[in-house]
Symmetry: C2
Subunit: 150 residues, 2 copies
């Protein structure tokens, strides 16, 4: 009974949408929502860094270090949402994600590597940080070009 | 010119929606989308822990430690999206967020504290981890009860 109450409390806490998926593999629409949420937040925290690199915002080492740490977590999150059973959902996922799964995995790994480098470079001064920001951006662009529909 | 190209590349990487908000304070609809994205991902990574605590999933210390670390990042993300200018956007944010701003801040801090404790407890065995999971869940429920519409 106590366990049942805890489960109900969990359902209430997380909302109905989650409840449905909680007791089995998440449903395709939930997986798409979650992976898009990760992309949205990567945009939130990478955006200011890209603008600093482009000279559109003043360089701020504290913001770069904080956002790099958050991106280190976020950059782990989208990938398990690209399951085969999400193919029928509305999204910008390109067929190449499934047709070239090895290439998609390499793109993920390269992006993760660039973010990890940024975490280190964010404590090494403006020039190093900006070079690392540029490398992350190149990985964003390259993966979107190859694996996202326009 | 090079800076302009970099800015265009950034815009392409992040998508049009982001571009609009990138050069000023993010627009209210973007802020709501970002804070909801953080809630979605908190659900993704807290969900399995809640189910372990409720006995609905086998306890897995590795998953608890990994998800706790990701929640440590995610739990920092929603709060700056609750700005006054988002009041007119469609969401479940309750008026008490603005009517009781101090209470909302306390709820955020309590939740952050519970997640930080979970990060430590996740390396201290099943009983400690489950107690910390329960405390995070209590904070989810309490904040949703007071600051989210039903």
């Amino acid at each position: 009974m106590q366990k049942k109450l805890a489960t109900i409390a969990l359902a209430l806490a997380l909302g109905i949408g989650y409840t449905i998926s909680a007791f089995a593999q998440a449903k395709p629409d939930v997986l798409v929502k979650q992976r898009q949420a990760a992309m949205t937040l990567q945009g939130k925290y990478f955006g200011p860094l890209g603008l600093m690199n482009a000279g559109k915002l003043p360089f701020n080492a504290d913001v770069v270090a904080r956002n790099a740490a958050l991106l280190d977590a976020l950059s782990q999150m989208p990938w398990d949402g690209f399951t085969e059973d999400t193919k029928g959902e509305k999204s910008r996922a390109a067929p190449e994600i499934y047709g070239n799964a090895a290439g998609f995995k390499t793109a993920q790994d390269n992006f993760r590597g660039a973010v990890t480098k940024l975490v280190g470079a964010s404590k090494s001064g403006e020039a190093a940080a900006k070079a690392a920001i540029g490398e992350v951006l190149n990985n964003c662009n390259s993966c979107h070009k190859n694996f996202r529909t326009q």
